[in-house]
Each structure stands twice: as C-alpha cells, then as structure tokens.
C-alpha cells in the first residue's frame, strides 16, 4: 500500500509499504478514505518529539471503511467509521473512568520504559506518533490496523460527507475538551492562545458552552479572521501587547479561563522563546512555552487554565509563583476522544457544529509532503489539509 512515512526532520515521503494484517483478536483493518494533517504532526515534522524511527507511518486523524475484522471485533465489513487518535482498551482502571487517553493497556510494554522514566508513568498509545506512545503505524495511508476496534471507532451514516465528520478523530473533541477543561461559567471571558484548528474549535466550543466573550490570540490575519467569524474578539500579538490588552478587555480583572492551544512550538520574539528555541534546536528536550507562560500571567486570580497544546519535555522559567499565589486550577491532557465522540457526532448531525469551514486544502495522499510543507510554512492560508486516498 501507499503511506506517508517519516525519515527525519522535514523529510516525509509517500512510500510503498506492506499492507497491515490482523494481529490481535480485537483488531480491524480500515481502508482509509480521508485523513488529515494535524498541528501535532508538525511537532514530528520539525523533529522536536523524541522516539521517531525512519520509515514510521504518520497520521492520527483518519476515517474509512472496515475491510477486515478480528474474531473479537464488533465492527462489520463495509461499515464507515471515524477512528479516535487515542488507542484505548476500554476495560482498565483509566478507561473505566473515561480517562481514555490514560489507558494502561494500549502501549506495548517495550515502548513504556522511556515515559515511565521521563514522566513517572508510562503513557498510553496514539496512532502514527512517536514510539514513546506506542509506535503504531498511522492513518496517512491506504490501510490501517486499528487495535481495540470494539471500543474506539464510531460508525457514521453514509449520508454524511467525510469532511463533516473526519475531525471527530481528534481536533473537534480536542477543542471541545479544551473548553470543558476551562469549566466555563455564565458571564465568563475566555482567552484562547492559537487560532490553529484546535484553537478555533476551542473558540467555537467555548461559545457553545455559554462564554460571554471569547478572545482569540494569534498573528495570522486569515486565522484571526476565522476566529472572528466564529464570534470571537481577536488580538494580533504582533501589533498588540497581549497581557495589557487582556486586562483592559476584561475590565481589569483578567480572563476567567485561559486555553493554551499552541503547545511546545510557541512562536514569538520574547526573550524566553528565543532561549527555548535554542534549547529545542540543540535537543535539550526543552519545550517552548511562551504562550503558556503568558496565559498563566493573564488569567485572573482563582481562574482556570486549560492546556490542550502538546508538551513533551521540560519547561524552565515556568511561573509557579503565579500558579500558586493566584490559586489557579490547571487541566490538561491528550483528549479522551472516546468520551466525547458520540455526543459530538450528534451535534454535527443536528447542525449545531460545522467543521468544514476549517478545511483550506484537499490533496491526494500522494501529495502529502506538499501538504506538510505548506501547513508548516504557509500557516496563514493553509489552515487544515485533508488528504484523500481516492477510495470511497
């Protein structure tokens, strides 16, 4: 089959690789119809996530048709499914608490040692990501092996387009959970850093959850325009001092909740970012944390901090003083996709949520490297790239 494979920093190629097979009883094989490139993929593309190996198949946002099932799969051949990017067993302590992205049983034991050392506990598995998170071949391919296929994939009606439901695999639930984690109350002002796909869905979700005002922060005019269209006020951090503006725009109180939808590759010209970037470049395992630091400074006393943005290593000059002295509450994590997916499918079916506004480019799988290049280098116009395999 054809698949997008990783060969190093800024080196991804479409290669011919062996087709996947059923390995475990609960597996299914999916023939992919649509798959997307995510901001998380850019961290791999930029080589800032450790544990990648040449030839790894990327992609964790995908959907398609079931073509093969293991004896314990509950799917049926021909069904159309969207697959969560988190691989979860459904029966461990964490899955039973619906903390699906903390599943104990999906990451092969050989791959658990590093994060057990790095974080104190081994993390669960994700599709098409680093070997720290399982090293499972991903969905930017013609076929994918889906473990625990009786728990993750959600069947979607034939009447709905791929583009309407594809983002149920990751970024829609991620934006939604970002807003859930902000514990929004009536009258709240919510500030969102980053108007990429995750930030935009967080804006949309926060407004749906009753925020009085959402302020979105980025520097790309087109992305800011999309946030404005969704109903947000916007701050362009290249023309405005973010902390001052947020205080003035929230009556001197500061936002009630803040959402960091930027993550470890925060841009900016502040001295902290420059230092962080140098450390990242020399491979210090350092995260760039300008947006997170700014969010912690901006949020009001007793406020809520939600961090959907991905971090993998260590961050220095982390404002622990602001965290403690202001009595902040922090919620974060990879998204518990399985917990939110059916509710969100319903909201799409009911016309309450539209996801198609986000897609700026549709490319054939063969042109995936071009998609990566532009999603990385022309972020303003390339808001979201969907790859089509030509299957239906």
């Amino acid at each position: 089959m054809r698949a997008l494979t990783w060969h190093g920093s800024h080196d991804v190629r479409v290669d011919t690789v062996p087709d996947p097979e059923i390995m475990n009883p609960r597996d299914a094989i999916i023939e992919v119809t649509s798959t997307a490139i995510c901001g998380s993929d850019l961290h791999l593309y930029d080589g800032v996530i450790p544990g990648m190996m040449s030839g790894d198949i990327l992609g964790h946002e995908f959907m398609g048709r079931v073509v093969e099932t293991g004896p314990k799969s509950t799917l049926q051949k021909g069904q159309r499914v969207v697959v969560p990017f988190t691989i979860s067993c459904g029966s461990c302590f964490f899955c039973k608490k619906h903390l699906y992205s903390a599943c104990d049983n999906s990451n092969p034991v050989e791959n658990q040692d590093i994060t057990e050392g790095l974080y104190g506990h081994a993390v669960s598995a994700l599709f098409g990501y680093s070997h720290l998170t399982g090293g499972y071949p991903g969905g930017q391919a013609e076929y994918v092996r889906v473990p625990f296929s009786d728990i993750g994939p959600i069947v979607v009606p034939d009447g709905m387009d791929d583009d309407q439901v594809l983002f149920l695999s990751d970024i829609l639930p991620t934006g939604w959970m970002a807003a859930v984690n902000a514990d929004i109350e009536e009258g709240d002002t919510v500030a969102v850093w980053g108007c990429g796909p995750v930030g935009l869905f967080a804006v949309q979700s926060a407004l749906l959850m009753g925020a009085a005002r959402v302020i979105a922060i980025d520097h790309y005019p087109n992305r800011l325009a999309l946030a404005r269209k969704l109903g947000a006020d916007v701050i362009d951090y290249k023309q405005t001092h973010v902390l001052e503006a947020l205080m003035e725009m929230s009556g001197g109180l500061g936002p009630d909740a803040v959402i960091d939808a930027v993550g470890m590759e925060s841009h900016g010209f502040a001295p902290d970012t420059v230092l962080d970037n140098i450390k990242q470049t020399v491979g210090f395992g350092a995260d760039s944390g300008h947006a997170l630091r700014e969010a912690l400074m901006a949020v009001r006393k007793g406020g809520r901090v939600s961090i959907p943005g991905v971090y993998g290593g260590f961050l220095d000059k982390f404002p622990t003083g602001a965290l403690m002295e202001k009595g902040l509450q922090v919620k974060t994590g990879q998204t518990h996709v399985q917990h939110y997916i059916s509710e969100l499918l319903k909201r799409i079916e009911d016309g309450e949520i539209d996801t198609t506004f986000l897609i700026s480019h549709r490319l054939p799988l063969e042109e995936a490297p071009k998609g990566y290049y532009n999603f990385k280098n022309n972020q303003d116009d390339w808001t979201k790239v969907v790859l089509k395999t030509g299957k239906s």
């Binding site: 062996p18 087709d19 996947p20 097979e21 390995m23 475990n24 009883p25 609960r26 314990k72 067993c89 459904g90 029966s91 461990c92 302590f93 039973k96 104990d104 049983n105 999906s106 990451n107 092969p108 034991v109 050989e110 791959n111 658990q112 040692d113 057990e116 598995a125 070997h131 399982g134 090293g135 499972y136 071949p137 994918v144 092996r145 473990p147 625990f148």
Partner: protein, 231 residues
C-alpha cells in the same frame, strides 16, 4: 528452618549498613545526564556506609535506599489488575500459562509432584533449564517456588495476590531472586537480570495485566513478519 534458607531470608531483609550499589548506579546515570561539570558533585554523594539507626517505616524492604540481597539479584514489581483474586491466582498457579506473558520463558513442563521444568531462552539459541518446586501455596493469596538442586540457575520467587482498595481488582506483587552461577551461563544471566532487573519484571507483569484485562497483549507491529513491539 534450613541454614541456607535462613541465610537467604536474611539477605532479603533490609541492611542499613551495607553498600548501596544501586544508589551509586543511579548517581552515575544522573551524572552522565548533567554532563562533566555536574558529575563531580554527584560522585561526591556516596551512600553512607553507616547510617544512624532509624525506626522502620512502612515501605517494603526492597525499596530501601541502601539494600543488598547478598549474591542475589532481585526483581520485584507490583501491579493492579482489574480482575478477581481467584482468577489471577488460578491463571498463575497453572505454570504452563507463564510463557504467555514471560518473554524469556519458552515453556513450562510439569514433572512429577510439585516440580516443573522451565525452559528459559538463552542467547544464540541456547536454552537454560530450571526445575522448580512449589514451596508455599495459599489458594488465592500466594504462590512461592524455588529451584531444585542442580538447576542451571539458583532462583526463588513468590507472587502475592491482595484485594485492591475500592473494588479496583487485585494487587499482584511478584518478587523473584536469582543467584547467577559462574561460567558462560552465569554471565548472560547476570547481564539480563542484574543490568535491568526492574525492566524485565515490570514488562512481564504489564503483559499479564494486558492479557487479563483486555484478552490480548498490545503490539504495534502491523504485519506478522515485522519486528516486534515497534522497537
């Protein structure tokens, strides 16, 4: 109690005054990470040979900062498995099930009485045979075994099953000790078990947990001829 058994037990206890080989090893690892400048500082932090007498705490002896097991390498790990004690005890008690989650154990064959032969995979296709006898068996609570005289490895182990709090299933605690003999076999046993004892042990218990909770053991290989575990 036999004299050698007493000696063995004595070694398993916490020894406050012994050299903490493990602590040194960790210090060296940390020094390598922080680079040459910091190494001098860490190397100065030698474990104290004579620790003031302290009242014992509640932690298991094998987690002591300074510990020794005599000639033995000890592997230990506790894991919570969301299954009833009876089921887990029953699965383990049938030693023929062990190769399903113990990577190095190729086969377990029952001999006469309480004795079983474990075939353990060695380097370059060489196998090692260990005959073990069950020395304690408390249904749904504990199984302990020890190698019989003349086995390639002098080893003993025990696994304990306790109800986890709050209906979380069962806490399975496994402790295995090995005495590596001399010679070629001894060298590779020492390599596997003394270099990364904790890694081997925890991987096996995690595999058991996967098998019991999900009915399968996770793998990221996606076709049968691929390398295992995505390593």
């Amino acid at each position: 109690m036999r004299r050698d058994e007493w000696r063995r037990r004595e070694h398993w206890r916490r020894h406050g005054h012994d050299r903490g080989g493990n602590t040194e090893w960790i210090a060296l690892g940390a020094a390598a990470l922080i680079g040459a400048a910091g190494a001098a500082y860490y190397l100065q932090q030698q474990p104290q040979r004579h620790q003031a007498h302290r009242p014992p705490d509640s932690a298991p002896g094998r987690t002591a900062r300074q510990r020794t097991f005599g000639r033995y390498a000890v592997v230990s790990r506790t894991v919570t498995i969301d299954r009833p004690r009876t089921q887990l005890y029953g699965f383990w008690r049938d030693f023929q099930n062990l190769p399903q989650f113990m990577e190095n154990v190729k086969a377990v064959t029952p001999l006469d009485g309480e004795v079983t032969r474990w075939t353990i995979e060695g380097p370059m296709g060489r196998d090692v045979q260990v005959e073990t006898r069950i020395v304690e068996d408390r249904p749904n609570e504990l199984i302990a075994w020890r190698s019989v005289e003349g086995s390639d490895i002098d080893t003993e182990g025990r696994v304990r099953f306790r109800d986890a709090p709050g209906g979380r299933g069962t806490e399975v605690e496994a402790v295995v000790a090995y005495d590596a003999p001399g010679g070629e076999i001894g060298r590779w046993i020492a390599t596997i078990f003394q270099k990364e004892p904790a890694i081997q042990g925890r991987r096996e218990l995690k595999r058991l947990k996967m098998l019991m909770e999900t009915g399968e053991i996770a793998t990221s290989r996606n076709h049968h001829s691929a390398r295992r575990g995505g390593q």
